[in-house]
């Protein structure tokens, strides 16, 4: 009953929120929060349960299967968690926009459909929820209006539809072959299928999941969509919605096909998982370097979402115990810090009146300290500094690549991290450091309901960084259920033959070192404090607000890499679209507007049929 109840609360809550909004906005806001909170509580209560139940009122005679296990719980908790924080954050952020009923409804509806994809146990319900998620997301991406947002929305929905139609062919092909779409039955029956057929199905499914995951070369929708959506929704998009693609890959590659078949999919030296690893590597490098070139706070984060996806697939597709754990953990970590960073970018937008241009921000550290700490911690997590959660998952992934003797993949992963450090620093520096522009003198910290999500996520970054054992235990169970070996997990990390990670020791070490350094500085001379405008400029006096080193931040580097980073994939897609548009225009000329032509068509059609029959007697 709980699973049905979860769905009912999720969908019912969305509709109820909409209608309550017609009565009173306050009521709607509090109900939305309560609804999101209820989902978190209900999902949390499902921890550790493995339930599968079949309801016989399904679609076209197929049963509707609901199911939860550790894997789906893991994804479900990220969805409801980020959903709740995003709703709380929206309360103030979105306050002055129009059509709020619509906004809250769509947000809750998207969360509900995502939850649906996670807890259903048959592919047809999976597809139905998946499509509901797609179109409702499209309805929210363009929420802000304006040409850019419209373009982002249409780009997203077209790519998403292409992916899901490919998946639909895969699903129906499975149905005609095996007569069932229940995941657990399918997992047994598919073992007997031929490899060519499995490859066909796998490609069909992968197309959908690669698109939604925004892996190179199908990533082009993401930067536009994430940058143009409203910030609370960007964080949902980036943190959980994109990762539905990862869930799909787990579901299809590991749960249905299983490791055995996956390892058999080899053609010469090209293996299926190997291809995925390289897609991951290219995605990492390409996205990290492209992010460097961005001057828009949310675009940087959007590109980093693309890049971090590369790490996940690198770990997961590597298909070793360690890689699996690393990839899965990275999904959780990325969800936490990218959610945090989008909240930070949104906070800046909120206070500066929608400014996302990094060249015109700066010096906000003192004005918005909490936001600054959130941003810093988020970036540190993104880079993978020790003591943050990103460190542990990246450590696992690096370890996997090194143990697996894949120096090139490992190099790509490292290169991505260097890029991340550069753009991460740019993000922090251009927004928070340097001189404060005159016009932002009276800026205040964001209100409490916006600070709260930032604080919670900041704490989580450290919590899972210092005590990674908490999520790793869960991830270990997932790994075992997908057919991997068990890991030796302790609260502070992992012990294995090839290396031990203990973050508690690192924490203690850093704490001691920190205290020593602090004591040394304490003993030394006090540093003189100057005000923010007191900049040194080789002896020349500089007018206020003129000296802020942000424009052309990495100029030499940019000049070096730009020629290699043309997003030719995107250009190629746009070209195809134009080509199709022209084609459509010329096809339209068939209908000339002259009725004599039309009558001629009718007569010619008849003549053609009779001629063909007389000549070849085909029919």
């Amino acid at each position: 009953m709980t699973l049905e109840l979860l769905l009912i609360v999720a969908f019912g809550g969305a509709f109820l929120t909409y209608f309550l909004g017609k009565i009173s906005p306050k009521l709607r806001n509090s109900f939305a929060v309560i609804n999101a909170l209820a989902l978190v509580v209900m999902t949390a209560c499902l921890y550790g349960q493995t339930v599968e139940k079949t309801l016989h009122f399904g679609f076209l005679g197929m049963p509707f299967v609901l199911r939860i296990n550790m894997l789906s719980w893991f994804f479900a908790i990220t969805i409801v968690g980020i959903g709740l924080l995003s709703i709380i954050y929206s309360l103030k952020y979105i306050e002055n926009e129009k059509r709020l009923d619509y906004y809250y409804f769509t947000t809750l509806f998207i969360n509900a459909s995502m939850l649906g994809t996670i807890i259903c146990g048959d592919l047809v319900s999976f597809f139905i929820f998946w499509e509901m998620m797609s179109w409702s997301t499209y309805l929210l991406i363009s929420y802000k209006g304006g040409d850019k947002a419209l373009f982002a929305g249409i780009k997203y929905i077209i790519m998403s539809i292409i992916g899901s139609l490919a998946m639909l062919i895969g699903i129906i092909s499975l149905y005609t072959h095996f007569g069932t779409l229940e995941i657990s039955t399918l997992a047994v029956q598919i073992q007997g299928a031929s490899l060519n057929y499995i490859l066909f199905i796998l490609i069909m499914f992968s197309a959908a999941f690669i698109i939604i995951n925004a892996f190179w070369p199908l990533h082009t929708w993401l930067p536009d969509a994430h940058a143009e959506a409203v910030s609370p929704f960007s964080s949902i998009l980036s943190a959980v919605l994109v990762r539905k693609g990862m869930y799909g890959l787990y579901l299809f590659m590991y749960m249905i096909l299983g490791l055995n078949i996956l390892n058999k999919l080899k053609f010469g030296f090209i293996s299926f998982t190997g291809v995925f690893c390289w897609i991951g590597a290219i995605t990492i490098v390409f996205a990290a370097l492209t992010a460097l070139l961005q001057n828009d706070s949310k675009r940087i984060l959007a590109w980093s979402t693309v890049g971090q996806g590369g790490y996940m697939i690198l770990g997961v597709a590597f298909a070793t115990t360690l890689g699996m754990a690393g990839g899965t953990f990275h999904i959780l970590n990325h969800c936490i810090y990218i959610g945090l960073l989008f909240f930070v970018a949104g906070a800046i937008e909120y206070r500066t009146g929608g400014i996302r241009d990094l060249d015109s921000l700066g010096g906000l550290i003192k004005k918005m300290p909490i936001t600054f700490i959130g941003g810093l911690v988020g970036i540190l997590g993104l880079i993978g500094m020790p003591l943050t959660n990103g460190f542990v998952s990246k450590w696992l992934i690096y370890k996997t690549l090194i143990l697996g003797n894949r120096p090139f993949l490992a190099f790509a992963a490292f290169l991505g991290t260097w890029g991340t450090i550069l753009y991460g620093y740019k993000f922090i520096h251009n927004i928070f450091l340097g001189q404060l522009p005159e016009k932002y003198k009276d800026i205040k910290e964001v209100p409490f309901t916006m600070r709260l999500p930032i604080i919670i996520l900041t704490v989580l970054v450290f919590l899972f960084g210092i005590l990674p054992g908490i999520p790793l235990k869960m991830i270990n169970i997932i790994g075992v259920s997908l057919g991997f070996e068990s890991l030796n997990v302790s609260l502070g990390g992992i012990t294995s033959d090839s290396g031990t990670l203990n973050t508690i020791n690192i924490f203690a070490g850093i704490l001691v070192a920190g205290i020593i350094i602090w004591l040394i500085f304490k003993a030394g001379r006090k540093a003189p404090k100057v005000n923010q405008y007191d900049s040194y400029a080789a002896g020349a006096a500089i007018p206020k607000g003129k000296y802020h080193y942000t424009v052309n931040f990495y100029n030499p580097l940019e000049r070096m890499i730009t020629p290699y980073l043309k997003d030719f994939v995107d250009a190629f897609y746009i070209k195809i679209t134009e080509w199709i548009q022209n084609l459509c225009n010329s096809v339209r000329r068939v209908y000339t507007g002259y009725v004599s032509n039309y009558v001629m068509y009718i007569v010619l059609f008849l003549a053609f049929l009779i001629f063909v029959q007389l000549k070849w007697s085909l029919w």
Partner: protein
């Protein structure tokens, strides 16, 4: 249950044709009494038809009802065959007719209203007659009733575009009708009978060239009304210049009935199973051309009209796969198109009325000005594109399943192409939805709802789209028996000829 079947045995399918026909001729008489009640006559007529059709469903599912008019046994009389297909279509016609006539209560305010309602009743009477008749000449007659009333209704608004496209439609329609009549004549000459079941029974006794020519003539003739490429050039003009309520009927009922006649001729009369492969390609071609033309349209009604061509292509494709899934999917897609496109035309009708132009770009900010109508339009658009949980999804699902269950590579490739057509379709519908909701309109943001009768009728469309979309099992039973009627022609012949 027993009581219900008793009751339905008492209902005669002839009523489905006779009542609207009689009421059509009664309209001028009632007009003498009161001009105001005229517009309620179609509502009454189709409510009656809907009830009759629904009552007939249980008994028809057991055994087709053959009505002998004049008391002679079938080959010698004009007979009605109310099988699952006939009743399915009559119910659909009555449903769409009812909802659109509710919509028209308020929508049709200008012009000769009396004539509108007469023609409207005649159009749908013709449609019902076509799907129920078991006599091929009778089919031609009903078909002409349908066509002639639609020529007139296209020109109803009396503006230049309306009259021009009506004349174009008339010319092409007449060419089609004469080809059809020629085909029927040739058949009559060969077999000496006009009864469909009787011809079907003897068809294999004739030599193949001598039946090929009448078949091609009939298919070409009917194909004009069914909007199969390249016979469909009248459609975009006619559908876009008719009043929106009529566009909804033309798109939702008229071309569907044309298509019914085509498949009836192909499957039942000529048993042309080896000819169907040609129709598979024709369907895909029709679909692609329709969608591609719709893609570059700036006029909302032309866009919807071209999209109807695309949908017809999809339906033709589904029927031509000719396995159970395909034919069931074809019927399902037919229903979902009637509901979806009907809703779209109705919603577009009031949006055009409000914005004063058919240009899509004038719909900016419509989401604020007409929130409900915009919502209904969006539901219709999503359903046509085939997104769950709307009715377009299960029908598309069935068609894809039909194509894949043949297990042939060719059909896998073709369904890929068909789905690409869906992507194009998605692109232009999503663009319109964006304009309605997200483009910042500079027009007056005054909120004004469509009239209540229009909203009610659109709302019922939406409910049907949602309910069947979520729970398609509701109609699968009748769809399955319709499919088996089409695929087992021997059973059809036997049930008519006894």
């Amino acid at each position: 249950m027993g009581e219900l079947s008793l009751l339905s045995n008492g209902v005669n399918p002839v009523l489905l044709v006779v009542v609207p026909l009689a009421l059509a001729f009664a309209v001028p008489l009632i007009g003498f009494v009161s001009k105001k009640i005229i517009k309620y006559i179609p509502v009454v007529a189709f409510l009656f038809n809907l009830i009759v059709a629904l009552l007939l469903i249980p008994s028809v599912l057991k055994q087709p009802i053959v009505v002998k008019i004049g008391g002679f046994a079938p080959p010698f009389c004009i007979n009605l065959v109310a099988g699952p297909i006939g009743i399915l279509f009559s119910a659909l016609i009555a449903l769409a007719g009812l909802l659109v006539s509710i919509y028209a209560l308020n929508y049709i305010r200008e012009g000769p209203q009396e004539k509108y309602h007469i023609l409207y009743l005649l159009l749908l009477t013709g449609a019902t007659g076509v799907v129920l008749t078991g006599d091929i000449f009778n089919l031609f007659v009903f078909f002409e009733i349908l066509c002639i009333s639609s020529y007139a209704l296209v020109a109803y608004l009396g503006n230049k575009a309306g009259i021009e496209s009506s004349i174009k439609y008339l010319i092409q329609g007449s060419v089609g009708s004469s080809l059809l009549l020629l085909g029927i004549g040739l058949l009559y000459g060969q077999f000496g009978t006009l009864n469909m079941a009787d011809i079907a029974n003897q068809i294999h006794s004739a030599s193949s060239p001598s039946i090929f020519v009448p078949m091609v003539l009939m298919i070409t003739g009917l194909g004009v009304e069914a909007a199969i490429f390249p016979l469909n050039a009248w459609l975009p003009d006619a559908h876009s210049s008719a009043p929106s309520s009529i566009s909804a009927i033309l798109s939702g009922i008229a071309i569907e009935v044309g298509l019914y006649a085509v498949i009836r001729v192909l499957f039942t009369i000529f048993d042309a199973s080896n000819f169907l492969m040609f129709f598979v390609f024709l369907g895909v071609l029709t679909l692609l051309i329709g969608e591609m033309c719709a893609f570059s349209q700036k006029n909302i009604k032309r866009m919807l009209a071209y999209s109807s061509i695309g949908q017809i292509g999809l339906i033709v494709f589904a029927f031509s796969i000719a396995n159970t899934y395909g034919v069931t999917g074809g019927f399902f897609q037919l229903i979902s198109h009637t509901l979806g496109k009907g809703l779209l035309f109705l919603a577009a009708g009031y949006m055009i009325y409000r914005s004063g132009s058919m240009d899509i770009s004038t719909f900016e900010g419509m989401g604020k000005r007409m929130p409900l109508t915009s919502l209904f339009f969006t539901v219709g658009a999503f359903s046509i594109v085939g997104l769950p949980p709307f009715i377009g999804f299960p029908s598309k699902f069935m068609i894809v399943r039909a194509a894949l269950s043949t297990g042939e590579l060719l059909f896998t490739i073709l369904i890929g192409i068909v789905l690409l057509g869906t992507v194009i379709e998605g692109a232009y519908f999503f663009r319109v939805v964006q304009v309605i909701y997200f483009k910042k309109g500079n027009g007056n943001p005054e909120r004004k709802k469509a009239p209540i009768s229009g909203l009610i009728s659109m709302f019922i469309f939406v409910i049907l789209i949602l309910v069947i979309g979520v729970y398609p099992n509701l109609i699968t039973k009748i769809l399955n028996s319709a499919a088996s009627e089409l695929l087992n022609r021997i059973d059809y012949i036997r049930s008519v000829l006894g």
